[in-house]
Symmetry: C2
Subunit: 602 residues, 2 copies
């Protein structure tokens, strides 16, 4: 397996050349205090070292050995505790945190790239700090000062980690029907009782305490999602002097044996009159949780990207080294590698197709996730119209980031495995682990089917297309501004067609849904992918535009990086973007063929 | 996990209603002696019992425990030896075998369905007998009478199994560069020395002897594929009285640890001056091997189908049981399941989409594989034009069966896993095993990229389109004959468009390839899938046509089976067939965007 190398040059290209993040940081007062280009570069470089040198090397043994469970105790795989300590001591657990409680207050544009590095190195490891950061966001936004002082500071310091306890055996996608109960106590705390499943990092040996954020209902709460409250339940209670007190009545009943992410503890958590503390208002638990969700869901999208980036690097190294067969055009153009008995498999069109699909989709995903992270930063740190626009775009594109990046991320891990041929199926090469690890990203934090419904029903249809228009207006303005620029026609023309088709498809689906709402459910998945490929085309056009400025009069970029970008952009528009055509045809074909058939005929 | 139920009704529908296999069997003298409808039905029913009752139950523990290796000895997982004995005692190892040596001489149309059952139950188990049957085909066709009397009879009896030893560490897709040597001995045998990897069933404890078919080269053999010969190397030499003699100098050096098919032994085999016997002519080894390849490659396609069928059955049961959320149209049409707190997830359009994709592609694959098996039967048992046509279609469609069925088979296992949500990722449910087991089918027996090249370069382009025309002429004749039939317009119209587009695409690619042969390599994968979806449309039209005859004047079929077929056909044409549009766009976009970019820019 290739040694993991963080694509730092691509990250800088996106931050400073494509999205001018440094200008944005300077402009927004709350960010200007925390970050500038030099700080950001130092952070990315140091994080790259951790990912490459500390985390990537433990991933294989993490997969083989996994976490173990005995009598309620969860033990992580060899090397994880040391790696976590190094990570926490480096201050990385505080990276995106609230500066008032010891966080570093870095923008999402940076923490997103940091997450990609962690996930390329080892998704299993990444989940421990990434979920803690997600829980911290919710606590920072909705928790009382007292809770924040007591818990948030220790989460940022890396002393403690966190889990999010949502799912129950009968309630996953449908949280409205959870049964975990919260009984108010005289001291203002709550007694929490119930069983949660699929709790990532619910129990482990990396930190001395674990802070559980738990969804539960009061006995008299309204039915459904509007009766859900959010509670903080520490594994160990905390004394007033901040030392750890007695073990709370919460325990890990078992861990799951899974397809992948073997080094991540997926726990059954039993709360048995545990002492808990309300976060935010009663019955507003889902809203508190969703604060975190936009950040988490983009984070899950980035997990898919992370695995795919690693898979690409491995596949490329393998393809260059592997000699097998001769190029198809050997008879016409002569043998390419006459010194050896076969050519590198890079000569084969189908191998190039596989590698370029991965390259175009990975770089496109990184760029699009940076764009969405920028919207989250505007939403968090901006003001006025800019802030509103950021919020709108983040809300619209969060489900796309989660589902689209993980669907194509999984596809890319499978493609990278395919490049290896038989060796891709053998565990020791590491390629198949990426497939197994990436697979969960399409499922958890809301399945990709749920994300598609979120996009088309809750975001696009509920806003009667207004949210979508925020995005398509930006793209249309970009097209107007740049369509006559030299060299841009080959990108602007297909982008124009794609965005027009997206608008037309949206109108058609919303119109049809007035007569039959099932049109939305039936088309949601195809719609999300049409949106994804179109949005990625917009970002690829912007990347191509920057790269074109580096060309000399012969059409050559002095720097291979930009030359490669231009070629990859062309590949994206030529070979990848046409995927949207079939998706549109399917989305437009209506829901009758799905709903006319009775359940017993399946 | 649902209990596996063999889709016997669909199998009978295909054999007797769609393809009139019983008529074909009666018509072909060599088959008429062996098989009629009653025999065939008895075989399918008995095989279903074995698959459902003996094989399906051992698959999970086979995955968890796997094969083990110690000091050259390979031990299969608990239950495998007993299951193999039951299987062999039932006579199943002789099913497709040459009647002159103890085989049952059953047609491929039956053995293909038998293979599907085995693979739905447990691909790992299936590989032991299926590879033995493949090796037996090659031996039956090319071996001397003496070799056949000595070895073939015992392979059919199930006493002995076989392996195919092709791949070496440096030579997989490119067999021309193998290094295993065969030195002629005075007694007419050969001394075989070399190392083979990825040898399925190379060593195990299921049978008392293992017959290895080994590709090797004589010292003075021509370079490349034309210097390859095929040898039979038994694990134990066989005495003249047919008892086992001494252990031949062949040993298993290790077994691979793999992503899936854990219960199948994937061996490194070391031949160290092993005694071997030539099969067929010297330097014609590849041709002897390819006798088997057409059968094997369809068999691998069927493995993908087998896993996908199981995944569908599990996902359907889960979807019907799982209550989560309410239908989108609850507010308009009322709650569907008011007695409980949520509806079955069958109400959601996206779940129906996933299930119907699986259903349409699985039933389409079974039908298309039956069609191709029928061509193989014509090629093997037919005469004159019928035989030639069968050979042409089998040659053309074998790579499609292998690559298309395994690509969509893998897709379907992933889809079936997605229906389970988080539970799909947990090992105990069994859904994720199907994904891991199916994944290898896209890789071995020639990667799907190699299959695509085989189709477009070796079959379509080398014949200048003549082979393809055998198929498109048949479809065109079908369209001409049936386009005015009542109810067929909705199927015939898109089929006509699809087959015309395929012809046009072929012409365009062949024309462009005259200037640049790389156009074929660049488009091969997309082309194969266009072909697959188009061929499947033809078969779906034929299935729809039969089902239409069962409709009464109200458009209702008395039997749910036919009603379901009609709905599924409509789903296929409406939602699945449009996939070809994007593939055509990609295939037509040319190879420049893949080859203009230098290797160092990847």
């Amino acid at each position: 397996m290739a040694e993991y190398k963080v694509p730092l040059k691509d990250m800088s290209f996106l931050l400073y050349e494509v999205f001018k993040a440094d200008d944005m940081w300077q402009k927004l007062p709350k960010l200007a205090e925390q970050v500038d280009k030099d700080t950001a570069q130092a952070i990315l470089q140091e994080c790259a070292k951790i990912a490459e040198q500390e985390l990537a090397p433990i991933a294989r043994q993490g997969d083989e050995i996994g976490v173990s469970f005995s009598d309620g105790v969860v033990t992580t795989a060899p090397g994880y505790k040391e790696a976590f300590n190094t990570y926490a001591e480096g201050g990385w657990t505080a990276l995106g945190g609230d500066v008032n409680y010891g966080g570093m207050g870095m923008p999402k544009m940076l923490t997103a790239l940091h997450e990609e590095m962690l996930c390329s190195a080892d998704i299993s490891f990444a989940l421990y700090p990434v979920l803690t950061a997600g829980a911290a966001l919710s606590l920072a936004k909705h928790g009382s000062d007292e809770l924040k002082e007591r818990y948030l500071t220790r989460m940022y310091s890396g002393d403690w980690s966190a889990s999010m306890c949502l799912t129950e055996a009968h309630a996953g996608s449908d949280l409205g029907i959870i049964r975990t109960k919260a009984i108010p106590q005289d001291d203002g705390s709550y007694s929490i009782t119930g069983n949660k499943i699929f709790i990532t990092g619910g129990e482990h040996d990396l930190t001395e305490n674990i802070v559980h954020l738990v969804l539960a209902k009061l006995p008299d709460a309204p039915a459904g999602p509007r009766g859900i409250s959010l509670f903080l339940v520490p594994k160990f209670n905390v004394n007033d002097d901040e030392t750890l007190g007695e073990h709370n009545k919460v325990s890990c009943g078992s861990i799951e044996h899974k397809m992948g992410i073997h080094a991540s503890a997926t726990c059954v958590m039993n709360f048995d009159e545990s002492q808990g503390y309300l976060i935010g208002e009663l019955n507003k638990g889902l809203a508190c949780m969703f604060t975190m969700m936009n950040f988490e869901r983009i984070g899950v999208g980035i997990q898919g990207l992370g695995a795919a980036v690693r898979s690409y690097q491995n596949a490329l190294e393998y393809a260059k080294d592997r000699l097998q067969g001769r190029a198809l055009d050997s008879k016409v153009k002569g043998v390419k590698n006459p010194a050896q008995e076969a050519d590198s498999i890079m000569v084969h069109g189908d191998v190039r197709r596989m590698l370029l699909n991965m390259k175009a989709l990975n770089e496109g995903s990184r760029a699009l996730s940076s764009y969405i992270a920028m919207q989250l930063d505007y939403a968090t740190y901006g003001e006025g119209e800019e802030q509103q626009k950021g919020e709108a775009l983040a809300a619209l594109m969060t489900p796309v980031a989660k589902a689209f990046f993980t669907d194509i991320g999984f596809e890319n891990t499978v493609t990278g495995q395919q490049v290896f041929g038989g060796h891709g199926f053998i565990r020791e090469w590491g390629q198949e682990q990426l497939v197994r690890d990436a697979r969960i990203t399409q499922i958890y934090e809301g399945t990709n089917g749920i994300q598609a419904m979120d996009l088309l029903v809750r975001k696009v249809a509920s806003s009667k297309g207004v949210l979508l228009k925020v995005f398509t207006d930006e793209v249309s303005a970009y097209i107007d501004d740049n369509q006559n620029e030299a060299g841009m026609a080959e990108f602007i023309a297909p982008l124009t067609e794609a965005v027009n088709d997206l608008t037309e498809l949206t109108t058609e689906l919303l119109t049809k849904s007035e007569a039959n709402i099932n049109e939305l459910g039936a088309s949601a998945n195809d719609y999300l992918h049409v949106f994804g490929y179109t949005a990625m085309a917009y970002i690829w056009a912007r990347m191509a535009q920057v790269s074109l400025t580096k060309q000399d009069s012969n059409g050559e970029c002095g720097d291979n990086f930009y030359q490669s970008k231009l070629h990859t952009a062309r590949y994206y528009f030529t070979r990848v973007l046409p995927r949207r055509i079939s998706l549109i045809a399917a989305a437009k074909s209506g829901c009758d063929c799905m709903f006319d058939i009775n359940d017993e005929l399946f």
